[in-house]
Point group: C3
Chain length 266, copies 3
């Protein structure tokens, strides 16, 4: 029952499960490393044609969550030092997400329950996103005293749109699935009871489409979406973790860990 | 009744008709060349102020189609060789689309029936898109064993959005007009019986607006939307037709021509 | 009762009011300079955490307008000469907008009534946009014989989307709040009677979130959205005001001033 990202292969279909039952499938550091390993394995397997990503079911077997965010209980151990914070975001998190972005197969996200922070980031690396009508989305880290890392913010803003990224990051807004459908982040919203079967049927249809064409389309779209780095961006990436030891960051994370409201003084 | 792109000029209004009655107005190679010639002629005529693009009516004079895609019956003659495939996409197709993008007049798409593949590309070169509530949109070339050419994919993804482009290309999805309205590709959806009159009235109003301002706005928006090429994009454009002679490409196209299901083996 | 942009500071909240009662809060040249001064002052005040931007109430104290556009009565004095037109757009207008874009605090637009031209530009510099269900949006300068300046067009197109920017600029379309919500420009549409209280409550909640994180998020999003200039863009910016003395520009503006329909001959 430990925190894991699981891979199950059935014929040409790869199923990836985010599993951290005690924490609504929040991503631990180990899970980010798992994510990278799983998608590297998928990318190297020429027999595969489609990937589905979902959260593990709830403990009672009922409707679960896609991913409730990062595993905040680990944060005090590494977030308050710039070098170790950079290592977390650039190595563990980004290399997991980059492995998804580098995958040449169609990736379908099946989203139930909470899809927060890290969950929005993982979903943003999927090509298609189908959600239950009870799913909820946000990145309320403004309550935790830290910003989204720049590469992650660029990824999320590209997928949810600049307006929604700003609402999530600047006001800690949590938005429901119909709203995220209207805002262009979701392909379709379905009743919870129909979601899994809908995604399964779509994945199976996708297995019969031309596999080389899918890979070529994904490679081209990846290159077309890449922006040229500017000097300001290079500079941003060099300095973006300097907030690590700040009072605000420490207060936000520790307040969560200590189950008390955070108080942010200017 | 051969395949043609027709131009009719009435005062300051140019009306462009995609006409290939036997094939739901699918674009033949000759029609791509017509498209370039027609828009070059429009751009050189300083008397014009507005362009409407539509498909020819159905044979019975009833509701027709905007454009059902490319004329697949021609494909076996040139698609399976890299050089001739490149010539088709980069010269015939792209030069037709580029002539539309280079046009300084407001271009209004009037979309009935099927708007698939090449139809989505032509519509993406229009400034405004009005559709009948019965119109359907997609680019199901994953059934035909080939990807969308990179410049065309960039154009379509910019207009339908990355999520919809991926749904169309990776799952061969066909989406209806209300869905495309919600996803930001269409300005408005109207009952079929009202579409032509609505577009006509809008075009006539546009004729009375400041013509130099329209040209300057279009020139500026064109420059603002252009992205700087990256080395990866240059490389992509150099190699993107290497799939020409592949088994998958041949199987997809020939299965369609032979009216049988395609079977794609890895 | 002169035309002003007003700043009121209450604790950590800055409230900015566009006020030109005689003209539905249209922006005069002096107001653009005020806008720059007000946002420079906000940016330099480390005690502030959130900004709300709204139009002044109507003269009878009832529902007002966000901003009806530019103050056209001033235009004949400076628009018909290239150098003075450039000075207006690049110094007064753009420096006001740039001061908003450079602000590191969350900025919430509260939009009632008309939001036209300059109003859409000011709203586009806000992070979040909430509108009354009676608000109306457009940039109908095609009636006035001039295009939107390139930096302003890039800003507006990024926020309303390319399709809507083209509809506003090329057809002088005016669109209502539910339509702009659907098209992704607004976070939420509310009954007029509820709008102010909703924005006030959101601003107050935002005051309690982590302030350093908000600043870091805004700085990163600003850098991530910046595009690299191309040679064509440099060239566009060098020549984009050459239309200043044209007959069309003069006719459009003077017709408005003289309260008669404009007649644009090719």
């Amino acid at each position: 029952m430990s925190a894991r990202v699981l891979l199950q292969v059935t014929g040409a279909l790869a199923e990836v499960t985010l599993s951290n039952a005690a924490k609504f499938n929040a991503m631990s550091r180990a899970m980010w490393r798992d994510l990278r390993a799983v998608f590297t394995q998928i990318q190297q397997n020429p027999q595969l044609r489609c990937v589905v990503v979902r959260g593990a079911p709830g403990r009672d077997g009922g409707a679960g969550h896609f991913c409730a965010g990062g595993d905040i209980s680990e944060y005090a151990a590494f977030r308050f030092d710039e070098a170790s914070l950079r290592a977390f975001h650039e190595a563990d998190v980004w290399e997991g997400l980059q492995a998804m972005l580098d995958c040449d197969l169609p990736i379908i996200a099946q989203i139930e329950g909470n899809c927060m922070g890290a969950g929005v980031e993982v979903a943003s690396c999927c090509d298609l996103r189908f959600a239950s009508d009870a799913a909820r989305f946000g990145a309320p880290i403004a309550r935790l005293g830290f910003p989204m890392a720049p590469r992650e913010a660029a990824l999320v803003a590209r997928c949810v749109g600049a307006l929604t990224a700003r609402e999530m990051l600047l006001t800690a807004a949590v938005l429901d699935a119909p709203e995220l459908k209207q805002r262009g982040f979701l392909n379709q919203v379905l009743p919870t009871a129909e979601l899994a079967a809908h995604v399964q049927a779509l994945a199976e249809r996708t297995l019969h489409l031309a596999p080389q064409a899918a890979r070529l389309n994904k490679q081209a779209l990846r290159i077309l979406e890449a922006s040229t780095p500017t000097p300001a961006l290079t500079d941003l990436l060099a300095h973006c973790y300097q907030y690590a030891a700040s009072d605000e960051h420490r207060e936000g994370v520790m307040a969560f860990v200590e189950k008390r409201p955070a108080r942010f003084a200017v």
